[in-house]
Symmetry: C2
Subunit: 231 residues, 2 copies
């Protein structure tokens, strides 16, 4: 048995792409929950809560996320476990942090109110505990993974145009990409499959629709998969 009491908590960083109010350009947003008790009462924090001894860690993350925001992401991945001695003012708390991506439609279904709201990932309010550092790390992981996996898929619909895919990459990576170069680059990916259909609409020559080959894993996380861990 360890020396002294350590409490175990779980938190989840959720990313969604939602159109900016003015420009309509997609931007990365994060849902935050207002704390209803000390410490940091009234402040914003990541959705989460205490781990339950009867559940796996990912199951605790899913439960506390659903309880606080109603969100039930398809794909949840362990991000990091934070345990600095002084990270909570009221005792020793170790937090296992998960992260997930949700599509815009799922994000829109979250009832915003006084206690839950979406914020642009780059303009968060002051956060409780070390949650600002956690979001910063999750953003770094998202950007890194975006470059070598088909993780952008989790932010898009079943089918999408190359322009839509490029706008996801631009929003996440904070860059402007050359449309022709981007098209050449992604068209050579074995994970991208042309559906043979085109976007419906008024355009003279509507753009082609693509889908991802779901036989290619969303991201290669190796032998430990969260779905197993959540038993």
């Amino acid at each position: 048995m360890g020396e002294g009491a350590i409490e175990l908590a779980v938190s989840t960083v959720i990313f969604a792409l939602q159109p900016e109010a003015g420009t309509g350009r997609p931007s990365i947003r994060v849902p935050l929950v207002r704390r209803t008790r000390a410490p940091f009462e009234g402040g914003w924090a990541l959705p989460g809560g205490w781990a339950d001894a009867r559940e796996g860690l990912a199951a605790s993350a899913r439960r506390t996320l659903a309880e606080t925001t109603g969100l039930e992401p398809a794909y949840l991945e362990q991000l990091y476990t934070l345990g600095a001695v002084d990270r909570s003012p009221t005792g020793r708390v170790v937090s296992v942090v998960y992260w997930a991506l949700v599509r815009a439609e799922e994000a829109e279904a979250v009832p915003e109110g006084e206690n839950v709201a979406w914020f642009p990932a780059e303009e968060l309010p002051q956060l409780a505990f070390d949650h600002a550092r956690i979001v910063e790390y999750a953003l770094w992981r998202l950007r890194t993974k975006m470059e070598y996996s088909r993780i952008a898929h989790a932010l898009l619909g079943e089918t999408f145009t190359i322009s839509e895919l490029r706008r996801v990459h631009e929003a996440v990576r904070g860059v402007v990409l050359d449309p022709a170069n981007f098209r050449r680059h992604v068209e050579s990916s074995p994970a991208l499959v042309p559906t043979g259909e085109r976007l419906t609409g008024g355009a003279h020559r509507p753009p082609r629709l693509y889908r991802y080959d779901t036989e290619v894993r969303l991201a290669d996380n190796g032998p430990l998969d969260d779905t197993e861990e959540s038993r």
Copy 2:
């Protein structure tokens, strides 16, 4: 406060390259510790122990590693936190797992005995708890990182020949690499610096010695670095 008691433990997977007895080829080895109490009394397990509320998580990993094996690796990285409900037969235990690489000289300094021994990573004895899965995952992470970072450095001396570097890659990745292709590939890396010196010895034309540019980070782990977390 969470429901029910959850105990927090730390474990560390250490990898070293040591020459095989017969062939002299380097092979990846892992130190294991014999358990002196139930559950799994007398069985082999990863070095580790209970987290201490007065220490950061990485500090607990370092302490328990030093207590059980005497090892003090320069570089320690968080690997994963395991928390399946049934992973320990005597209660709910969540384990934060770290991993590290040590050089052959450091590995040789560990006094082997009845309760500590090095085993080839591919031929481990039966391990307690889910430690076999943890080692499997750590090996996967090592192989993945080896491909895109200068992490091989942590297994080599300060200076090394291209052949020595190739043998590290061959041992870790379990492949045989073409010497000329490998040389071309690594010589184009900005992290590899020729020292201008050659290996001393009887050879007519002794091979050149290289070092890594330590301004290039060992591995890019993003904004959360274990050195900060271990405060």
